[in-house]
Structures are given as C-alpha cells and as structure tokens.
Amino acid sequence: MSGALRAQAGALRESVHAEWTKLRTVPSTGWLLLTMIVLIAGVGALATEVVKCPATCSQDTTKLSLTGIQLGQAAVAVLAVLAVSGEYSSGMIRITLTAMPRRLTALAAKAIVLAGVVLAAGAIATAGSVLAGRFILPGNGFTGAYHSEILSLAAGSTLRAAAGSVLYLALIALFSLGLATAVRDSGAAIAVMLGLLYIVPLLTDLGTLDPRWHHRLQEWGPMTAGLAIQATRNLKALPTGPWPGLGVLALWAAGALLAGGLVLRLRDA
C-alpha cells in the first residue's frame, strides 16, 4: 500500500469515528431508530394479525410480515436527512469540513456510519417482524396446510426477503443522505424524498393507469422497485425481479450520492 493511500485510509477511519460520535450523541438518532423498529415490527405484527387462513391461504406471508418497512423507511429518511441537513442548519458543517477538508471523504464517512447504523437497527426490526409473523400466523390458520407456510429464515426466499429489506433500508438511508447533501435544507430534502418514495405506489395501486405506464412507473419507482425484494410468491407478476428491483433503488441512491458529492465539492458550505 502506498503512503498516500494509507494516509487516505487513515483519514477516512478518523472521519468515520468523528461521524459516529456525532450521530450517537444526537438525541434524535435514538428516537428515530426506536420509532423505526416499533413501526416495522408493530405494523408487521398487525398486518399478519388481520389475515386469516383458509379464507386467504395463498398469501405471501413473508411480504405481509414485512409491511412495516413501508412506514419505517420514513424514519430512516429523516435520520439520514438530519445527519447532513442538521449540520447545515447549525453551521456545524463548516467545522466538519475544517477538520476534514477532503469533502468526499467526509461524505463517505457519513454514508458508512449511517449505513452501518441503519443495517444494525434494520436487522433488529426485520427480525422482530419475521418473528412476530412466525408466532402470529399459525394462530390464524397458517399452519402449513393449504399452501401456506410457516415463516422461517431457513427458507431461502424468506431469508432473501428479510435480508433484502434490511439492505433496502440502508439504501433508503444512502439515497436520503445524497439528496440532503445536494439540497441542504432539511424540509426540502425530506419533502422531495417522501414524494419520490410514496407517490409511485399511491398512483399505481389504483389500477386505472395505462398498463404500459403502470408497469414503467412500478419498474422505476424507488419504493415499488426496491420492495420487489420482499416478494416470495408469484414472482412473475412483479414489474422487476427481486434483485434487479433492489438494483434500481441502488441506482437511485448512487445517483443521489453522486449529485450530493458534486454539490458538496463545488459549492461553498
């Protein structure tokens, strides 16, 4: 390893440490992560509670128990937006960039810390909702008969859906971080982010749109495409496959981080 590279790696490590200290000492971080976990596990438990077999046995129970992600992601978006917009509103960003003049390294450190925190909390939340489904569903008649299955992370598709949901949350965090870095203002950033997430499913759930547009919107909408990772049944009906769908969200996140990185490099803080 050349000296310059080693110095950069050292700078990144220090930057990550600084970002971790900032994130963990802000009271909102804990509250937001707690909100996220409660929303994901709680809504998942509620969604599995209201479904009954044999009335609707052919349910995608895995996807159902992960319904809470649709709400929990809003808390993740707030967390990621505040991680950068909070610094702009308090002026902290100038101190951050004085301490770490390589701005892209500072952004990378933020992304690493945020992704790590969201992955950890998301894993707890997702495990919680799968566990809730595992205990609630058999009581509602999903006992393994009539093509219903008992939720288990040992099943490949369930593991993919659960792990993919955790990755989904991390990608939402990175997407929001990139967007907030580009937009700076927390209100504007969160409004744009929530709009991008929720508008597409809102419009495509009511099947009145032209089928081609319906398909196109679902295929490229960050939320509809990314949540394809949760499907374990009837995969042919999905607008995209599970992993390509998550890939679409990754593209959105990469695009937002690129835009954020450019603005951070080119504009005064």
Partner: protein
C-alpha cells in the same frame, strides 16, 4: 420626615395595537417576504394541476374494458344491458313489460298484492351468504314509457321489498311514497296519470284514499306511449377486498309479482296487453346446455341446475302474475374511478404544502425569530391561530385556482383517452359534484397545511413534522389498497386520509346497489364526513400545539 408624592413612570411611547388583525398582517408579511416560501407555494399550487393533467394523459382507457362498457370487446359484444338514457348518461334498462299503447292523456292503475323473489344459485365466494328473499330494490309496478327502446324516457310508480313505494323517472329520479313491503294484507295501489309531458304518480293502501307521490316532466314525450305493468330484479352484488385478490360476486336474482285491478284509461278500445322483455334477455332460468339456453343470443346467461319456471306473464282473469329474471331500470353504476385516480396526483402538491406549513413555524425556531415573535405578541395561542389562518387561506386560495384549472382539462383528457362521458361524467365546475371536487381538493390541502403547522409547532423540527404528516395523510391511502377490507376501511375512516374521499369522481345513487372497495378508490365515509375527520385531526393538533406553546419555553 415627609414623603412627597411619587409620580409613577409612564413611557412616552404609544402602546402598540394588540388586535388580531395586526397579528394576521404581521404573519402574512412574514410569509410573503420569504422568497423561498412564496416560490414553494406557487410551485405547490402548480404541482397539483400539472400532476393531475399529466396523469390524466396516461390514464388511457383504450385497454380498459370498464372505460366503455357499451363497446364490443375481443371476447364478445359489449354489455347488453347498458343503454343511453334521455340525459345522455349510461343506464340499465332491462325488465319484463306487460303493455298497451296509450295515445294522448290517460292513466294506468294497478294493485300489487305480492312481491317475492330470490337469489339464483351461482358462483358464491367463500364467506358470502346472499340474503334470502327478494332484492331490496326489486321493482314491481306500473310504468309509462316513451317507447320499448332501451334507454327511452319513462316514469313509474313501483313497489319494492326494502324501500317501500317509489316514484322513479328517467333513471335518476327517485321519490319515496308509502313505506313498507307488499303483502296480501297490505296491498299497494299504484296510479300514474299522463297529461302532455307531465306524469303524476299516486299511491294508496286501500284504493280510495290516494296520495300524490310526485310529478315528473318527460321532455319530448311522444303522443303515443306504452303504459303497463313491469317487474325487474337487480343483481345481488358483493365485493370484499382481500390481500392478494378481491372476492367479487354478481349473483342473478328473480322476482315475481301479482297484480290485479289493472285498468288503463285512455287506451285503444278493445286493445289487448302485449308482453316482452325490454333490453336484451340476460338471464334465463334453466340448466346450462338446455335447448332454451342454446337458442338465446350469445350474451345471455343460463343459471341454475334445474329448470325453473320461466319468466313472463301468467294471467288468470284480472290477475297478472309477472316474473322476471334479472334486470333493472336504473342509472348504470361503475366501480372504476379514473378521475378519482388521477386526482391522487394532488398528493404531490400536498407534500409541498405540508413542507411549507411545517417550515412556517419550524424556521422561526431554527432562526430564533420565534422569540422576537413572542416578545412582540406574548399571547402565544393567538400567534399560532394567526399563522394557521394565513397558511390555511393562502393554501386554499392557491390550490383552488390550481384545481379549478386542472379538473376540466383532466376530464377532457380522460374523455379523449376513451373513458366515455356517459359513464364517467364530465362535471362542470358549477355542478355539485364538480364543486365538491374542486373545493374539496383545495380544502384538503389547506387542512393538511394547518396540520403540518401544528406538527411543526409541537416538534419544532421541520423534517420530523413533515414526515409525521405525510405518513399520517398519504401512507394510509397506500396501505388501504393492500390491506383487507376491514382494516383498510378503518384506516380511511380514522386517519386524515379520509378527506381524499372528496375527490371521488363517479356518481353514486342510493337506488343502485354498489360495492365500495378502497382498491377501487372508494371511501367508506361520506365525502364531507371524511373531510370533517381530517378537520378534527387538524383542530386537535392545533389545540395540542397551542397547549405546548404556552407550557414550554420558546
């Protein structure tokens, strides 16, 4: 020791005027002098119409069979029972008629002594138990109709099992007469008199004391009309939203009525009663594959395993027994709501308005301006009330202009995209429904802005407040489509998303059984009741915000 009098100090400054109008003025000044907010408000006011009009462009009905139920499809002809009524609207005009020609003025009278019926066996989804007995809106009565052509003008007085005696005319008109069901013990006398274009309906319990139900004017009624007895038995329709699939059932029904004391004044002397189905015969009782079924037109349906008594007239002396399988005389009701769907584009503008509402107070906290505001006007509740009025009025006014511009354009685009206007009416802005959609859109945006302002005052952070309100208002609409009917209905009753019910674009008629699934954009609450739910949320949030503003340090 002596004490002199001390004159207390009085400032030479004139006290500032502390009236609410000045508070409003200062809050309005704060709003209009922040360039970003004015731009955002103009943007929000433009976003809604742009989104709605763009969505109307991609909501093409060309591939949607519901867009034009009258058009032939690849698999068969269009719906046989849909005709175009005198007002240009799609109607169901399908019933069994026993009639004579009536030239000029006259009247028809009959007594109904029995009205029975049942749901015919068919594909009944699990968990659905169709009610026994006749349909509540089965119809047996007397009618004066311009001609036997489906969709022609008519006026009728009829008995129903569930809604008493009614006078109905031209498919949408409906007035109640005597209440109660028909039986031999409580027979119903019905009478229609014609005088030119005017038809008057009467009912009576005993044949001697007549009460006028109503008057209908059928414009352009020809001199020779058809008058007589009729029976129709609407389908039993049920739909329940599930997780992955919706249970939908349309069960055919039959109804049989007994008439006597039938008289026609003004008919041709010596004329006899003719009989026949109006509209296409859509239902025949009998086994599939039965010779009678095979002879029927392609769009007819055969139901049942055994051959049931055929529909038609059985007459013995003065008693007419009339039976009909299926049919109805009513407006055609669709469940698909393209206008309501494209109006969901409002959600884009709503997010912008919510952001503005939250920032309107959160920005003051961030910049510390809030302390100046409270120093100048120490009554904090009034400050928040003034802010709520300013943001509410500005949002309402801007959105009203946007919605009034967008709705007619969106309707035109839907119409040219294949959604026929006879089923999906193009509401004028002055019609009640058009007014409800436009004013409702502006109203729900204004209420969302006030809700966001209150959330901003409670949370003091714009990001948290915006997210809370968006999750509360928009996410229920998304979840309501994927959850089963029960929880979905409750979400749309209890959350501020209930206000979106104001944007439903298809007409509803109480005399037609219709199904309401959130999947189809249907809301369980009446539109303005849903708006009241949303207002209650905003009021409660504002109350909490005022309470906390008074309690906490700024």
């Amino acid at each position: 020791m002596s004490t002199g009098t001390i004159t207390p100090y009085r400032s030479a400054q004139q006290p500032g005027r502390d009236d609410f109008a000045h508070l409003l003025l200062s809050e309005w000044t704060k709003f209009r002098t922040v360039r970003g907010w004015v731009i955002a408000m103009v943007g929000a006011a433009l976003l809604t119409p742009l989104a709605v009009v763009a969505l109307a462009g991609i909501a093409s009905g060309k591939q949607n069979p519901a867009a034009n139920p009258m058009a032939p499809t690849a698999t068969g002809p269009g719906s046989a029972t849909v005709a175009i009524g005198p007002g240009g609207e799609a109607v169901t005009d399908d019933f069994y008629l026993v009639h004579q020609s009536l030239a000029g003025n006259g009247s028809v009278t009959a007594r109904v002594t029995s009205l029975t019926g049942s749901v015919l066996p068919g594909q009944v989804p699990r968990g659905v138990t169709p009610p026994r007995g006749p349909q509540p809106w089965a119809k047996a009565g007397i009618i004066v109709k311009a001609s036997t052509r489906p969709g022609s003008a008519y006026a009728a007085v009829l008995a129903t099992p569930g809604h008493g005696v009614r006078m109905q005319w031209n498919y949408t008109g409906d007035t109640a007469g005597l209440p109660g069901a028909v039986s031999a013990a409580s027979a119903r006398w019905l009478r229609l008199t014609r005088s030119g274009d005017t038809i008057t309906g009467y009912d009576s319990a005993d044949g001697s004391h007549w009460a006028k139900i109503g008057t209908a004017t059928l414009a352009g009624l020809p001199r020779a009309v058809q008058a007589g007895l009729f029976v129709a038995s609407p389908q039993y329709v049920t739909a329940t939203q599930g997780f992955a699939s919706n249970d939908f059932a349309q069960l055919n029904t039959q109804a049989a009525a007994v008439f006597d004391r039938v008289s026609l004044a003004g008919g041709q002397p010596g004329a006899t009663w003719s009989t026949g189905n109006i509209g296409a015969a859509s239902v025949v009782a009998g086994p599939r594959g039965d010779s009678r079924c095979r002879q029927l037109p392609a769009r007819s349906v055969c139901v049942g395993k055994r051959k049931a008594p055929a529909g038609g007239l059985a007459r013995s002396g003065g008693t007419f027994r009339v039976r009909e399988y299926g049919g109805d005389i009513a407006p055609y009701v669709t469940v698909v709501d393209p206008l309501g769907t494209v109006l969901k584009g409002t959600a884009i503008g709503l997010i912008a308005v919510v952001a503005l509402g939250a920032l309107y107070i959160a920005a003051e906290y961030r910049r510390g301006l809030i302390r100046t505001t409270f120093a100048a006007s120490p009554r904090r509740g009034r400050v928040l009330a003034a802010k709520a009025i300013v943001i509410g009025v500005v949002t309402f006014a801007a959105s009203l202009i946007g919605a009034a511009a967008a709705v007619p354009i969106a309707e035109r685009r839907l119409h040219s995209g294949g959604w026929v206007s006879s089923v999906y009416p193009v509401w004028s802005l002055t019609s009640a429904q058009g007014m409800q959609i436009v004013v409702g859109t502006a109203g729900l945006l204004a209420v969302a802005a006030i809700l966001a302002l209150s959330a901003g005052a409670v949370l003091r952070r714009s990001a948290g407040a915006i997210t809370a309100v968006v999750v509360l208002v928009i996410v229920p609409l998304i979840l309501a489509v994927i959850l089963p009917q029960g929880p979905a209905d409750w979400l749309l009753r209890l959350t501020p998303a209930a206000a979106f019910g104001l944007q439903q674009g298809i007409p509803q008629y109480s005399q037609v059984m219709h199904t309401c699934m959130p999947y189809n954009g249907c809301f369980p609450l009446a539109p303005w009741t849903g708006f009241a739910v949303s207002c209650a949320w905003a009021a409660a949030a504002l109350g909490l915000a005022i309470y906390l503003l008074r309690r906490r340090d700024a």
